[in-house]
């Protein structure tokens, strides 16, 4: 199978991999780079569990042709906290019971981070809109929305 080289930064680190030509970014991050934080939930853009940030904007790993991230900056939940501490957003999710099975959580966090990076004081409706592409089947959305709003109140601490 034809392989093609791709170089990008993953959570700030230079990364270079050989990938199959038709490989999607999700598979390359998980099996190629070993970052298991983005999840496979559908492979068709429905669930948002594979949401990652490409140049700061949320994208779906499963629908991104891996070769197209050449030279770009990719961020995942696996690289959110650098060190033992957590970001305010992660802490808010933790304390607000915004994760039950945890499977949608990495995607939710990426969607939420993209929002707060651009709009540090969002309204409730803006939060709902920001995570509208991310499905959760257990906790329900209310604690997640509450956690994102709670994190926006203490962004400086992050």
């Amino acid at each position: 199978m034809a392989q093609t080289p791709v170089r990008f930064t993953l959570n700030g680190r230079e990364t270079g991999l050989f990938v199959e030509e038709a490989a999607n970014l999700l598979d390359v991050l998980r099996r190629g780079a070993g970052d298991i934080s983005p999840k496979y939930g559908c492979g068709q853009g429905t669930c948002g569990a594979c949401t990652v940030l490409i140049d700061g904007a949320p994208h779906l790993g499963c629908l991104t042709l891996a070769a197209t991230v050449e030279g770009r900056e990719v961020r995942t939940t696996g690289g959110m906290a650098d060190g033992p501490g957590l970001t305010a957003l992660q802490t808010a999710f933790m304390e607000g019971f915004a994760a039950q099975c945890g499977f949608c959580t990495p995607g939710m966090l990426m969607a939420a981070k993209a929002l707060l990076d651009r709009n540090p004081q969002p309204t409730r409706d803006e939060v709902i809109e920001a995570i509208s592409g991310n499905l959760c089947r257990c906790t329900g959305y209310e604690p997640i929305v509450d956690a994102i709003l709670a994190a926006s109140g203490q962004r400086g601490a992050a």
Partner: protein
């Protein structure tokens, strides 16, 4: 943090409030892994040289497999192994065979016939997922399409296509009947006495649990001849036992790792992916992943099954319900899985949380050419609860009663006799109604606000009435056209008032090493005893013969079973009821309370929150 409200004014005398954890916020022990993206689900265990397994599936609801041509696929790039039905060592199973309930009726990979859309007939293992997909697409199957049936009542008609050869009547065998029977009092007499009859049909569509993590497993050979299996199953040892059986290998050869599940909700108990992955690892000697994609999760992932309930109530002008009749259909889809249990569990729930002196119910577990159904939150209960509560509103409207009043009037009180001959205890519907009405701003009369679940039982409500019995609907009757109606028939025999149900005995386990040792887990295997004070010690624990022995030649079949225990239903028809006293004398005399069991145990010096069984 949350909006949970603790109503400590209710049942305050039955609860100890000196608790350290309950009622206080507590971080989940696994949540830091979740927010760091470090929690390892089954697919997060990375293996070098991982192979990918995918299935060729039926595009038809019902079809015979004439032939499968996989020659082209076998030659495709990356294909390592074609897995056929004949590669499965013991290719027939039913999930509940692990507890001895029901007959094996489903193949892991179908070899002759498919009975639902998406049933697998072949699997392919390849080096990449794309290669496995491409190879599956290249397989040619010659199908002989058969007529199918997708409706439960249609499936019970004599001319319906046979869905599942193991159950040619298209319904599960609750020997000796083709349905679960519940009889309490005489509904016909109740209807005759009632001021109004209210009848309606309720239906629930199948519901997919749709966990965000799709079902799947990764298996790999370990050293020492074992196979490790990382799985998203909700039932690790169920999956292990099922894999051992299908692959005909000792369970000691299987090392199952699970417990971290990306959402399940009942949809991850069917143990379909683990045997496939382990089989792949056995056949290739490599790590193999078998993972459903989203389309498979939705199409072949077992949903909560469809249900249909017909409820007929006889109600007095003042709102007292005096008779309730159920005809219920659980749509199992093509194979049994857990639906047989839904029939008994659902029946055990009837007639809902209400004291009704005359109850009759026929509940069927029906096979159709739909995706096999399985558990989902409130399994076996949700559909009929929906039906019952809709019906309560309809009844209230029919007699011009307030719907909350109607519920409080009919709600169980502690001590009431339930239709399956157990005493109601720990009742709380009255209080739920009061609180819910308060929250909704619904006006409730002072009398209803003063009502309590703890008071209000009467001798009438505690009594087991004389019961009308019938023996209609024996296995095979419907197929032969002898049973035009699914509804409970008019009783032809009578069971005297005060007759309890028969005892149940635990079924023998399938494999000797699965025997639970009673002394090790600290509780007896014994029939539940009626602890209520009203129960006379002279009432025999098992049903006496009916007073009309001429029509009941062999056994007291008509004694209504306590239906919440599936294994008992599976007992062969001819086996006489056997009480279980032989286990008792050897045991030390267990603690027996002098007051009825209420919320918590009351023993001097002991926490009230002992569950009654405890590890040593």
């Amino acid at each position: 943090m949350s909006s949970i409200e603790f109503r400590k004014d209710l049942f305050a005398d039955e609860r100890d409030d000196n608790l350290n954890e309950i009622g206080k916020p507590k971080l989940r022990q696994d949540i830091e892994g979740h927010v760091r993206g470090r929690t390892a689900y089954y697919d997060d265990h990375l293996f070098d040289g991982l192979l990918h397994m995918r299935c060729v599936r039926s595009p038809h609801h019902h079809a015979r497999v004439r032939s499968i041509d996989s020659a082209g696929a076998e030659r495709m790039a990356g294909v390592r192994r074609v897995v056929r039905a004949s590669d499965v060592p013991h290719n027939i199973n039913t999930l509940l065979s692990l507890i001895g309930f029901g007959r094996d009726d489903e193949q892991l990979i179908a070899d002759r016939k498919v009975a639902y859309k998406g049933e697998p007939v072949l699997a392919i293992i390849a080096e990449t997922e794309a290669q496995a997909r491409a190879a599956c697409a290249a397989v040619r199957v010659d199908w002989e399409v058969l007529p199918h049936v997708l409706d439960v009542e249609e499936a019970l008609t004599p001319g319906a296509p046979v869905v599942n050869e193991e159950y040619p009547n298209n319904c599960f065998d609750y020997a000796p009947y083709d349905h679960v029977k519940l009889r309490f009092g005489d509904v016909e007499a109740g209807f005759a006495q009632a001021d109004r009859i209210v009848e309606a049909t309720y239906e629930m569509s199948p519901i997919e649990q749709a966990p965000i993590e799709t079902c799947g497993a990764i298996a790999a050979p370990e050293t020492s001849g074992r196979y490790v299996c990382h799985t998203g199953t909700q039932a690790l040892f169920f999956s292990l036992g099922t894999t051992a059986k299908l692959l005909d290998m000792p369970s000691s050869k299987l090392h199952f790792i699970g417990g971290t599940v990306g959402g399940g909700f009942g949809g991850k108990v069917d143990s379909l992916t683990e045997p496939m992955a382990v089989l792949g690892a056995v056949l290739t000697g490599k790590p193999v992943k078998f993972q459903w994609d989203r389309e498979e999760e939705m199409q072949v992932g077992a949903p909560r099954g469809a249900e249909r309930w017909i409820i007929k109530d006889g109600v007095m002008a003042d709102g007292r319900i005096v008779a309730r009749q159920f005809t219920g259909f659980f749509d199992a889809g093509a194979y049994t899985r857990l639906s047989s249990y839904a029939g008994t569990k659902g029946t055990g729930h009837l007639p809902g949380p209400y004291s009704i002196p005359n109850v009759a119910s026929n509940v069927f577990c029906v096979y159709t050419n739909r995706t096999p159904a399985t558990a989902m939150r409130g399994f076996g209960i949700t559909g009929v609860d929906f039906a019952i509560e809709c019906h309560m509103d309809r009844v209230a409207e029919a007699v011009g009663a307030d719907p909350i009043h109607l519920r409080i009037l009919n709600a169980y009180r502690d001590g009431d006799m339930k239709a399956h001959r157990r005493r109601a205890k720990n009742c709380a519907l009255v209080e739920c109604c009061q609180v819910a009405a308060g929250k909704a701003g619904w006006r409730v009369s002072p009398e209803d606000m003063a009502a309590s679940s703890k008071t209000g039982t009467t001798a009438d409500r505690q009594a087991i009435p004389e019961t009308a019995l019938d023996e209609d609907g024996r296995i095979g009757d419907r197929k032969a056209g002898r049973m035009p109606s699914a509804r409970p028939a008019k009783g032809t025999k009578r069971l005297p008032a005060g007759t309890h149900g028969r005892d149940h005995k635990a079924v023998p386990v399938q494999r000797p090493d699965m025997q639970q040792l009673a002394e090790r887990v600290g509780h007896r295997v014994a029939p539940e005893r009626d602890a209520a004070p009203a129960a006379s010690p002279t009432v025999p624990a098992r049903a006496p013969d009916t007073p009309t022995p001429a029509t009941a030649p062999s056994r007291p079949t008509a004694a209504p079973p306590a239906t919440s225990s599936p294994p008992a239903e599976a007992r062969p028809a001819a086996a006489p009821p056997q009480p279980m006293p032989q286990l008792q004398p050897a045991q030390p005399k267990p603690y027996e309370p002098d007051t009825p069991f209420r919320q918590g145990v009351r023993r001097p010096g002991v926490s009230r929150f002992l569950s009654g069984s405890r590890r040593r």
